[in-house]
Amino acid sequence: MSAFETIESPTVPSSTRTEAATSPADARHTPRLVGNASVGIEVRNVVKHFDNFAALDGVSLSVAPGELVALLGPSGSGKTTLLRVIAGLEFPDSGDVLFGGRDALSMTARERRVGFVFQQYALFRHMTVAQNVAFGLDVRPRGARPARAEITERVRLLLERVHLQGLEKRYPQQLSGGQRQRVALARALAIDPSVLLLDEPFGALDAKVRKELRRWLRNLHDELGLATLFVTHDQEEALELADRVVVLNKGLIEQDGSPQKVYDSPATAFVAQFIGDTLTLPVQVTDGQAEVLGARFPAAPGTPEGRAVAYIRPHDVSVQPQGTANGVTAEVISITLSGAVLTLRLGIRGLGELDAIVSRQDVQRFDHEKGSIVTVAATQAYIFSD
């Protein structure tokens, strides 16, 4: 619970985000937080096998300085392996990893100065919050180690930055999940990292804390200006948070583009099916098009004529009074209210059942009780070969 108290202040609405970032109080600390010139990450053709299984099968991607990129994929897609390769915790069989143009593979994990936040935080549980954050500075060789007072001051600034001031003397076990996550982040930032890598940063948190931390992390990223790469299996998180989304599946990149691009024009059947809840319908492609629920949509380039699969999002199914529009006739099987929207389960003769998510206003003006007959049409569909 206490995670909310301390985090409420930083979660400003996005419209005022820039103002908050440059307010006098913040500007005073920001310059000292990350002193390194930010560098980009470049991954070229990385291949990594575990026994006979290709975790990464030739992956290339880049993250520009100041860019926030999401690595999105299901479990086993190789996304964590890629993150670990970049961090220096795994070594690729072939390929290159460059930090700001310098070969990172010739450096050990210690030398790379990567800020890494583990999924389970990996905090040192026998150390206080302050000791955890100071660790990266304390272990520096004598010559490079800042003076005691300087470390204390830096820890104070970092904890202030992640809104954990006053918790210096606590042990990780005494913190909530969201607080631990921020300790892990402060600890990673303490070493003045050149890039920031986060493994499922919100994976272990409950839904509410997750949403708040998301916005907060976005703000923090904008202020730090580091090249940041984070791994997630949650498409909503990736779309909301990132400047760019890289979709990974079975060790290969399926699509690399802006959240809008990935959402609106999925490049492959996998992306269409992975992003958003998706319904699938069998269709016939003729002349590069296929009819889906009464309307014709272009098939993906290169889709052969004949049998194919259409992917439709429940949001892209429109429900109209019977006979008022083009489409197919369906029967309402069940209705579920989820906040502002309704989920209608529809039965279509010869096709089976599908879900449509509609706003309550849209269906207000006509009968949509259980058992009523309506007309459904697809407003958007993605067609890929079977």
Partner: protein, 294 residues
């Protein structure tokens, strides 16, 4: 329970139930199991200790002091304590190493090695004592080489140390092992990412987590060594003032039907074990202060 009386059930109609409400537990059998455990502990552990103290109490303070501070008795304390100390020192280092190897590396024969750790527990200690004596006696496998070099093990203090070390080895390994297994790899990786060297990682991250169980294991090993009898008597030679341990002197007193004297000596062993266990527990509690929730 609150709403029960308002229900028109048969129970509510019955004569008013007693006011006392028993706390309800989801897990049944608490009373029975706790009662059995307490009884068992009382009969097996506390009663004998009480009997021991009772025997010792039949002595006047002056007599008690005369027995426990006699030159021969003090010599046995010195020998027992110093031998147990060396044995524990050896086991602490070697046990830590063994646990580390067993947890950290995968090699053929790991399971066999793992099973062998428990052998000292399974073997009758007298058998261990005889076997060790056979090895280290002047005509034994090791003894025939060591004795000409002037290293006397059997019938000397090193023999006592070896016997104690043999019987108490599993304590250290078996207490460290689970903690080492629980240590997440990510913790070490996090340390590396933050720039720590292997040495710093061990000293600052691994060792502090291992320390409490290491202390617990070492103290158990030490306590066991203090009381070890079977293995030691065969290899020690048992010369009064030289290689006689306190447990043996106690046994000799019993043999002489001098029960109060035996009880007095045993009380000394008991107290020393208690003091040590208490000290180690306190140290452990302090070490594990980070486990407390606010």
């Amino acid at each position: 329970m609150i709403g029960l009386s308002s229900l028109p059930s048969g129970r509510a109609a019955a004569p008013a139930p007693s006011r006392r409400r028993r706390q309800r537990r989801a897990l049944p059998g608490f009373g029975l199991t706790l009662g059995l455990s307490a009884t068992y502990l009382g009969v097996i552990v506390l009663l004998p200790i009480a009997a021991l103290l009772l025997h010792a109490a039949s002595l006047s303070p002056a007599e008690f002091w005369a027995i426990v501070s006699s030159r021969r008795a003090v010599a046995t304390y010195r020998i027992t304590l110093s031998s147990a100390f060396y044995a524990t020192l050896f086991n602490a280092g070697f046990g830590l190493l063994l646990a580390w190897v067993l947890v950290r590396y995968d090699f053929t024969g790991r399971r066999l090695l793992d099973a062998m750790i428990d052998l000292p527990f399974a073997l009758p200690t007298a058998v261990a004592g005889i076997a060790l004596t056979a090895l280290f006696a002047r005509n034994g496998i090791f003894g025939q080489w060591l004795e000409p070099m002037g290293i006397k093990i059997a019938y000397a203090q090193p023999g006592i140390v070896i016997a104690m070390a043999f019987t108490s080895l599993p304590f250290v390994v078996r207490t460290i092992q689970p903690v080492l297994e629980d240590l997440e790899v990510e913790i070490e990786e996090a340390g590396h990412m933050l720039g720590a060297t292997d040495g710093q990682l061990f000293a600052r991250v691994i060792w502090p987590v291992l320390m409490p169980s290491f202390l617990a294991g070492a103290s158990l090993a030490f306590a066991r060594s203090l009381g070890e009898f079977g293995a030691v008597v065969f290899i020690a030679g048992n010369l009064p003032m030289r290689t006689e341990i306190t447990a043996l002197l106690t046994y000799i007193r019993i043999d002489e039907y001098d029960y109060p004297a035996a009880a007095a000596l045993a009380t000394v062993i008991l107290l020393s074990a208690f003091v040590m266990l208490f000290a180690v527990n306190a140290l452990q509690l302090w070490q594990l202060r980070y486990m407390r929730r606010s």
